[in-house]
Amino acid sequence: MGIENLLKSNILVTTVDAVVNWGRKYSLWPMPMGTACCAIELMSTLASRYDMGRFGAERLSFSPRQADLMIVAGRVSIKMMPVVIRIWEEIPEPKWCIAMGACASSGGVFDTYTLVQGIDQFIPVDVYIPGCPPRPEGVLDALVKIQKLVEQDSIKKRK
């Protein structure tokens, strides 16, 4: 029996995209941009009952430079928005963004002078989660949606 026969059953042919995306998809490192009450719900999503670790995203990255997913959880005031933009820009490509809760998505009930009416005016948002605050299931659903987006990504697209 030659070595060629052994190799036959050990080699898979695939694309670089498929392998890379598969790796990225199950090892998202979220940057928790928690500015208000939604962040508490984000914490409970990470805790043992809902366990975001099941989807490979339990490693919160408190440094934006090591993150690839930003979860904006909470109200963003006009004083905070420049900071959020700065942090978003410090995350290296490829990166994705979740707007968690009514406030981050649209300003929520706070239709006042001080609150940004939806962070999507300033940074690109991939998935919005409705709710005030969203249930942990909602956060997990958004995470799965992000994983689907990651799947469609191609290293050729990003330069």
């Binding site: 006009i78 004083k79 928005m81 420049p82 900071v83 933009i85 700065r86 239709d111 006042t112 002078y113 001080t114 609150l115 940004v116 009416q117 005016q121 300033f122």
Partner: protein
């Protein structure tokens, strides 16, 4: 009804400042004019009988349509550890002259509270070591807790400088 001695003392010592006093469920408020406010506090803090050594809070009221004598009142809450009692002083501040003396030299804790009132109501505290905005961004224009400030702002939330 017996009045608390603070009221009588302030009436006697600062007759031109005293406007009226109010009592609600054992809590007294004294409404005064703003001119001699520093002396009133110095007296309340240093008088042996009162020793109001703790400044609990400073806040402000905008009586825009509430028929008060003046438009604003800066409200001071004091507490004395000696007598275990509280007092509220309201200093009336007219709309045309939104200036009042700072009490930072009596209580260090007044610093940030006065900055907050300055930021949100535009009352200037004379003698404050660093009277700058504390809550709104540094380049904010206007004083948003005044009752005539539009709720949705004047475009601040759409146009602001972005840190790069």
């Amino acid at each position: 009804m017996n009045k608390r001695p603070e009221i009588e003392e302030i009436k006697a010592r600062f007759p031109e400042s005293y406007v009226r006093d109010e009592e609600f469920r054992g809590d007294i408020s004294i409404v005064v004019r703003k001119e001699r406010i520093f002396d009133i506090f110095k007296f309340l803090k240093e008088d042996e009988n009162f020793l109001y050594d703790y400044l609990v809070d400073i806040t402000c009221i905008d009586y825009l349509k509430l028929n008060e004598i003046e438009r604003f009142a800066v409200v001071y809450h004091l507490y004395t550890h000696k007598n275990n009692s509280r007092i509220r002083i309201k200093a009336l501040v007219p709309e045309k002259d939104t200036v009042i003396s700072s009490v930072c030299s009596l209580w260090k804790g007044a610093n940030w509270m006065e900055r907050e009132v300055f930021d949100l109501f535009g009352i200037e505290f004379i003698g404050h070591p660093d009277l700058s905005r504390i809550l709104t961004p540094d380049d904010f224009i206007g004083h948003p807790l005044r009752k005539d400030y539009p709720l949705k702002g004047r475009g601040e939330r759409e146009n602001f400088k972005v840190v790069k």
